[in-house]
């Protein structure tokens, strides 16, 4: 029975090959999309967990968006007074309160806009993934800069090199170059907080304060107190996760719709191929009935073909997803709000198995009508078969 199924499929290599390609493509797209959503959630949570942040103090305004911008090293229009930092540090629940000042510096020589981030030592425990490929991981004086991997490549600077910023008329010494992290950190110029404040005429101002509590469970207790700090607004990480996922939701829905369309097209192509095969081989199928095959057996035969088509197509699709997923991810990444650094594709066993199961289900569904048609063929037709 299996050889019969197999032989029938091998008989029309082009048609079945095209169908396989269609199914494979559909499954690949679908799997990537599912993997993408899951991966986004996972890496986002992972990134937030690793930072060990529970909340962020930002200037009053549009808090969620601000917090998200800060997390992605984007600048804000308004700022916090330095007094907010002292108040935050005095709170009994706060373990670390790390101030940041971010500034965008449009370059006159090129069209680039450089991002400068000022931070102090308190930020170090919040960036555990910071590693330098060369030089030191911290500043030795006020005029030292640590470059992100891309920034270093762009400026062609190595540790120890001098580095002049014409727009601000300041000279720095490169203290270290960071390992490529795939995050927005890669393109940033990190300098001491006080230097940033002086350089951009923001003395005493901060863009945000990242806060780690002594115990994550203290969030509910500490948030209202910190909210009292004048000019500041608290955004918890849980709130921020929600915002990220909401922002992603729209993109995901769109992608999911694409995936469903792809799978539908794949299923239709299986349907079309099988139906054409059944019509074309109606004499042969009637012959099988004449030779004693029951309707159920003929139905099973065609269903077997549909499962084989969709199963093999699905497996190819999984391979395609694993091989081509990263390319697809790069294509999609620009549209993802605040994309986390690591790969967004979580092509784990569950996602892959789901993809295959979905392909088989779609194939079985697509095969029902052709199989039913085949099972209804009268054995009497066999006599007329050439």
């Amino acid at each position: 029975m299996l050889t019969l199924v197999l032989h029938n499929l091998l008989r029309r290599p082009l048609r079945h090959g095209l169908t396989l390609a269609g199914v494979a493509l559909a499954v690949a797209v679908l799997v990537c999309i599912t993997a993408f959503g899951t991966g986004y959630r996972q890496t986002l949570r992972g990134e937030l967990d690793r930072a060990g942040l529970q909340m962020m103090l930002v200037p009053t305004g549009c808090p969620y968006d601000d917090a998200a911008r800060v997390l992605k090293n984007n600048t804000l229009e308004n700022s916090l007074p330095a007094s907010a930092l002292d108040l935050a540090r005095r709170d009994p629940a706060v373990a670390v309160a790390a101030p940041f000042l971010m500034a965008a510096l449009p370059r006159t020589d090129t069209r680039r806009t450089d991002l400068w981030v000022g931070l102090d030592e308190t930020a170090l425990p919040l960036k555990p993934w910071w590693r330098v490929t060369a030089g030191r991981a911290w500043f030795n004086g006020p005029d030292e800069v640590i470059l992100g991997a891309d920034a270093a490549a762009l400026e062609m600077r190595a540790p120890g090199d001098k580095f002049f910023s014409p727009e601000t008329r300041r000279e720095f010494r490169v203290a270290g170059v960071l390992e490529r992290s795939g995050t927005s950190d890669d393109s940033i110029f990190f300098i001491p907080l006080a230097t940033t404040q002086a350089m951009f005429a923001q003395t005493g101002r901060l863009t945000a304060i990242a806060i780690r509590l002594k115990d994550p469970a203290l969030v509910r207790e500490a948030a209202p107190r910190l909210q009292e700090i004048p000019g500041a607004q608290v955004v918890t990480m849980t709130e921020m996760m929600g915002t990220f996922l909401n922002l992603l939701g729209a993109v995901r829905t769109l992608l999911l719709a694409l995936g469903v369309i792809a799978l539908t097209v794949g299923a239709l192509s299986v349907f079309n191929t099988l139906l054409a095969g059944v019509v074309e081989r109606s004499g042969e199928l009637a012959l099988l009935r004449a030779l004693g095959a029951s309707r159920t057996q003929v139905f099973a035969l065609i269903t077997g073909e549909s499962l084989l088509l969709s199963g093999v197509g699905g497996a190819l699709g999984l391979a395609l997803a694993v091989a081509g997923g990263p390319a697809l991810e790069n294509l999609v990444r620009p549209w993802v709000p605040f994309a986390p650094a690591q790969t967004l594709l979580a092509l784990d066993d569950r996602v892959l198995l789901n993809g295959l199961a979905l392909a088989l289900a779609a194939g079985a569904l697509a095969g029902i009508y052709p199989a039913w048609r085949a099972s209804r063929l009268s054995p009497a037709l066999a006599v007329k078969m050439e």
């Binding site: 050889t3 032989h7 004449a290 004693g292 009497a380 066999a382 006599v383 078969m385």
Partner: protein, 229 residues
């Protein structure tokens, strides 16, 4: 020669067998109240002009179609009134069918073609397939594909296949229609041999040699039996 009582029972008993096809609004009376019996071990030829209803009759006898009216007993079991599933069951176990165009599956080997009906009947068949291929003289061709065989060889394979489930009745619709006379003759000889071994054979044929080889002739014309002896 002693005759057991079983040998007297009929393999086919048709009474007023009628088949009406609906072609648009028109009714085609392909078979019109045909009555006859075939005893166990008989070799019968059905003859008649094109459109006489020969294939229609064979389809009814082979449980491939249900009669419009009339009764039919095969191997002492009532066929008329059986549902599709039961007819399949009966076809599988009782009837072997040989077609004018051989009806071999091109993608399967000779041996796979032969065991196919046993596969559907869920019987084990390897030994019997070997024996039957030996009998039709094609054991050495068991792994070949149909397109590598001559017409006569293909029909021999088809005959071996028809016999795999040990049927009581062998039905053939113009089995020599696509063969030259010499090859056709060897098929006729094979049918005679099978009949001599006790198989009941019913053949629709235009072949005079086949008709002569059969010990009984039934002539159909316009869906009726001309002389049902």
């Amino acid at each position: 020669m002693t005759t057991s009582p079983q040998e007297n029972t009929s393999v086919i008993a048709a009474q007023a067998l009628t088949k009406i096809y609906q072609r648009g609004r028109e009714e085609v009376r392909a078979l019109d109240a045909v009555s006859f019996t075939v005893a166990r071990g008989e070799f019968t030829a059905i003859t008649g002009p094109s459109g006489a209803g020969k294939s229609t009759l064979l389809n009814l006898l082979g449980c491939m179609d249900a009669p419009t009216s009339g009764t039919l007993r095969l191997d002492d079991r009532e066929v008329h009134g059986l549902d599709e599933r039961a007819r399949t069951e009966l076809r599988r176990s009782t009837v072997g069918f040989v077609f004018q165009h051989f009806g071999l599956l091109p993608t399967l080997t000779v041996e796979e073609n032969v065991v196919l009906p046993a596969l559907f009947a869920r019987r084990s068949s390897a030994r019997r397939a070997e024996m039957l291929l030996e009998k039709v003289g094609l054991l050495h061709r068991r792994t070949h594909r149909p397109h590598e065989l001559s017409g006569g060889e293909m029909q021999r394979v088809a005959i071996a296949r028809a016999l795999i489930n040990e049927p009581r009745l062998l039905l053939a619709d113009e089995p020599t229609g696509n063969l030259d006379s010499a090859t056709g003759y060897s098929i006729i000889t094979l049918f005679q041999q099978l009949n001599a071994e006790g198989l009941t054979v019913l053949v629709v044929t235009h072949n005079a040699v086949m008709t002569a080889a059969a010990r009984r002739q039934l002539a159909l014309r316009d869906g009726r039996l001309a002389d049902g002896k």
